[in-house]
Subunit: 180 residues, 3 copies
């Protein structure tokens, strides 16, 4: 296993602080010239523009907002948290639009909607209760590894926002980066 | 992006340790008067009382157990991990009881149960195999951002425990807090 | 709540660095003899051998790759991230093979496959679009607490790799460990 911070300090000498990366802090043991990185945290709230009902690839939108900060992390984790209960975040295929479209087809087949649906919660419209269910099926959060300043995803993986309501609204995502 | 630890230290002077928050540790460069927070970890095992089959809002139960520790984190992540394979954790609507009830209706419709169900694993009762499936559908873990000593969820979001077994039992959740 | 790093330093004395564990770094305030652990990160890419379509218990395979590093963490989180969109990771029952088999039965019942399925994305075979949907249903990532050098899971919990394609291929998992 590659230790992101492969440190083995034994010298009992005063520690000094210096900046290795932009916005990062490390402890430098000047007697041995080893650098001990102190993990960093950053957090940002992103507002995604309204999107029509269905599954949408948002990898580039997210990266545009966080790439500059990602650059400062050699190793870490990126957490995305959607502030809503009628939309969801998932990771899936990043190339063929049909995959997103078929996934929306699946969700609509599996969760009944309309007059024959068994829901009691109907005050906010026929699409609301199905949206809540879909949100829990796919979830509202993602955690993605960071390696060498980049999201470490597979070749075909992308970040999807799945909008489950008929009426498009802006969606809020809290992104938390943590690492060294 | 708001860096939770916006540090830019260049001075090569001895570092000193002081306590900025209760239970937290920071490195203070006294030559520049900047404070470098060292990330903290805390972990707690919570026992939730038995709940009947269905979806239950447990945000306040969880907060009661962790709020005091949450106060010490300006920025971080809270991880909740359920120790069971026949219940689940999810984030969904926190207001209308009907949403929880409709979600339970959905789960029971989508996962067959009883004599006509196709399951081989029936030794632990007709509700056991359906419970395992539902547990993987919603998942047994949550990760929620922490901001300014609070869980940073949307206005309508709450933490649900979904009990998938007929016979209520106590459920164990491991909560891990990490941040600065 | 058990604070993993229960520190309360007030002395303004020089900080020294020493190694408490293998690969770990701590700050030692020699005036009070308290040790402040600096969180560690490690990351490893694991290649899992091809498995036939279905659900597979892979806990021991994963532990074999990470146990040595896990030993160095008293408290933390382990993140597993699958690099694929046609397989999934989930946590479920670790004992009876029938539970894995029944879960595969469920997935195949709920996601239509073959000539009568409504999918537009069919170029990669009839099992491909169903595989993408199943991947988002169960998800491609897990986060598990670490306590005292071990994955802190429940008695009956295990890590499953669910292979959703007919033709077995090697699968890549990025494991990220973070803690003290």
């Amino acid at each position: 296993m590659q230790l992101c911070s492969s440190i083995s300090l034994t010298a009992k000498v005063p520690v000094r602080v210096k900046s290795e990366y932009k916005n990062s802090t490390t402890l430098n043991d000047f007697s041995s010239n080893l650098v001990v990185p102190i993990p960093k945290w950053s957090q940002k709230t992103i507002n995604l523009p309204p999107q029509k009902r269905g599954c949408h690839l948002i990898t580039s939108k997210i990266l545009k907002e966080i790439q500059q900060d990602l650059n400062g992390f050699q190793c870490g984790l990126a957490h995305l948290f959607l502030h809503h209960t009628s939309a969801s975040l998932t990771i899936n295929e990043n190339y063929d639009y049909d995959v997103r479209d078929d996934t929306e087809t699946f969700l609509n087949r599996i969760v009944p909607e309309g007059p024959s649906a068994p829901w009691k919660h109907t005050l906010e419209g026929p699409d609301d209760m199905p949206a809540h269910i879909k949100s829990s099926m796919f979830g509202c959060a993602l955690m993605i590894p960071i390696s060498n300043g980049k999201l470490n995803m597979g070749t075909w993986q992308g970040i999807w926002l799945c909008e489950h309501r008929d009426y498009p609204t802006s969606r809020t995502v809290v992104v938390t980066l943590n690492g060294i």
